[in-house]
Symmetry: C2
Subunit: 455 residues, 2 copies
Amino acid sequence: MPVYSVSHVENVRICVIMVGLPARGKSLIAQKIVRYLLWLSIKSKCFNVGSYRRLLTLREDTTFDFFDPENEAGLKVRQEAVNQAVKDMMKWFAEENGVVGILDATNSTRNRRSQLLKLCRENLIEPIFLELWCDDKDLILQNIADVKTTSPDYVDLDSEYATNDFLGRIKQYEKYYETMDLAADADLTFIKLVNVTSQIIVNRIESYLELRIVYYVMNLHIKPRSIWLSRHGESQYNLTGQIGGDLDLSERGWRYAKKLPELVLKSLGEEHKHTNLTVWTSTLKRTQQTASFLPYQKKLEWKALDELDAGECDGMTYEEIETEFPDDFKARDDNKYEYRYRGGESYRDIVIRLEPIIMELERQENILIITHQAVLRCLYAYFMNVPQEESPWMLIPLHTLIKLEPRAYLTLVLRIKADIPAVSTYKEKGTSQLGEGSVNEGSVKSRDLISNSAT
Amino acid sequence: MPVYSVSHVENVRICVIMVGLPARGKSLIAQKIVRYLLWLSIKSKCFNVGSYRRLLTLREDTTFDFFDPENEAGLKVRQEAVNQAVKDMMKWFAEENGVVGILDATNSTRNRRSQLLKLCRENLIEPIFLELWCDDKDLILQNIADVKTTSPDYVDLDSEYATNDFLGRIKQYEKYYETMDLAADADLTFIKLVNVTSQIIVNRIESYLELRIVYYVMNLHIKPRSIWLSRHGESQYNLTGQIGGDLDLSERGWRYAKKLPELVLKSLGEEHKHTNLTVWTSTLKRTQQTASFLPYQKKLEWKALDELDAGECDGMTYEEIETEFPDDFKARDDNKYEYRYRGGESYRDIVIRLEPIIMELERQENILIITHQAVLRCLYAYFMNVPQEESPWMLIPLHTLIKLEPRAYLTLVLRIKADIPAVSTYKEKGTSQLGEGSVNEGSVKSRDLISNSAT
């Protein structure tokens, strides 16, 4: 019997067809959806038509007039780019068992959309249109600023030139853009977001997975904010190498707790030092003790942030587990993401119970989370798009504050180490020994900036 | 630090103002929302204007022409009913710390709605309009049939007379009904459901709690279905009076597992014997063994259906807990819903982890759930509206199949006892002794039909 998870999808295959003028945030939303679904073990991929078009053209040939609907050469190239993207997507569905494919393009006309619709239906794929509609000028200018600095079409070009060219390109699309409409598109499955989530129109959403996507999108906002992550300070069990339990901080752990307010201030910088954070902890003493010197009024305790439940192994050291349950010890090393402790949890179980936390985090602004090694790995994996086979092995040392700053197409990461020693709780594959506190952080750091190209 | 739960609401107070013609399912949805929120410990109440109107009038004076907008006497009484309902609601917000009040009435005109809006704003209550719009004749006739048999306006009256009078009443409302509109009502927070959830329009939803309500409503469907609940068969630990663990069934437990397919068939009746159920179990062996003889192909395993985690008390008998942790034992008896086992869970914790299960159950059709005593109590409490102080004390014996059949305004309950003896796992307050297997079921049975009056 397979373990149920949020990823349970009953052979459904969905194609999310993005709809919207340039600079409406299509790529941003498409990439967020992919990241969220991958984190839930739902095989997803974004197919960006702009990237295909760039392979067929030179940058100097694609100034705004290239996008004129009267420009026949341009039209031909753009049609070819769509064809190739769609072909690759269909191949991915068929050969790689894709579940949610996202076609990231303007798909501006009913004619284009009905072609895609037909193609999906022929291939037994559920089409769902996701339109981003926006008439808020500030929002559009903000999106243009993001695209300018990240799109291969404009990177390294003069800023004013890029803005003007991009505005010219938008004008070309506006000539023939047809918005989704409850009357004209009554038979289609679609979501239309007006000015981010200020109005939402949902038509004929039926399957579980479609509704998950809709709900996720409804929770997004675009206000700038940061998320801080920290493990609790060193605990009594950390000192003895035992896992689990609900023990107090060690003397050095208390020192970290007292230092934490200063680290947070440092991460905020002088200009933002009065920013008000909300603090989330688990229900375990060591996270609450770590939070106890923080000057913020709003502190919330979540059971869902409790450490991975080690079941029968709770309170044991890795050496003891290796001796007492050698098969389990090996099984966990072989597939740490899926391995569930006897009477306890797996990393996959944690992801399922963290899902409402992620949803709430997307809604909130500045949150500081003090939690545990395995939970923090799963949260970090969500924000930084770390694959499942790597996330349980990530190095997240004690006495280190991590600040994540999600931007349009990348997440900035700042790590501040407190100058307070702590044991290492990092166990490498194939050994029951813990590290010496200075394990190579290379593989983590290389992921610290995730970036993706826009249209 | 208070324990975070889904019920966390940051001093928000919300008034859900229902909008819709008669027979659109307003009362049904209003009552479901209240039940869901109460289950999540969010203080909620429905104020049904029809009930207030009935206190002011005689039934024989309220035939359809009473609702004619030209009938001044009728108008006056109906305005008075609204006034009284709103007054009581405001009193409830102010004096009883209400969080979500629902005003269940047609609220057919912009004029009426703007009066309510003004009143809410004056009282610092967030107004959210929930319109049920429907032009599907079959759906309307089905709703009329429900109202006819349950509304005090029609109960015991001739069926044809009731239908005609009610259709007449709807016509009166149609004369001046104004639907919610994205243009005309652009400044209001509203949800409009068109033909149940076939189209959904969401305008200016901002707060967490508002979005929870929207998401819940989006998951509802009205197809007829049943839900079956059973505990696992008697387990080895049941025999020794120990709690928790992951042990096999006892010999009698296996007999129950073999009998279960027959009980399910019996509950389906001859006519529906080919109904295809989906079986959900926990990840623990005793529930999967109990499911193992069921002939249904789709069986899913949910970690969220695992038994309440007794933490340090896992594997102990109640006597042992009373001896070893006397203060905890007493604390649990004093407030069983809130008491969290050392390193384990409380009933409240279970409700939080069951919330996605409830959402999924609302979406699904025929589901048979095989789970554990505490989890089953929480699920049952949701469907049957059992208050928190009672739910942890409910009698849910072993070797008994429960079938719940949600109807418009009540849930039918069928309990089928297998003729296979089992120990009692029922512990009464103030003792560590388990019952003898034939505890008084009175207090449970009296709740077995929940019904509410419609408009």
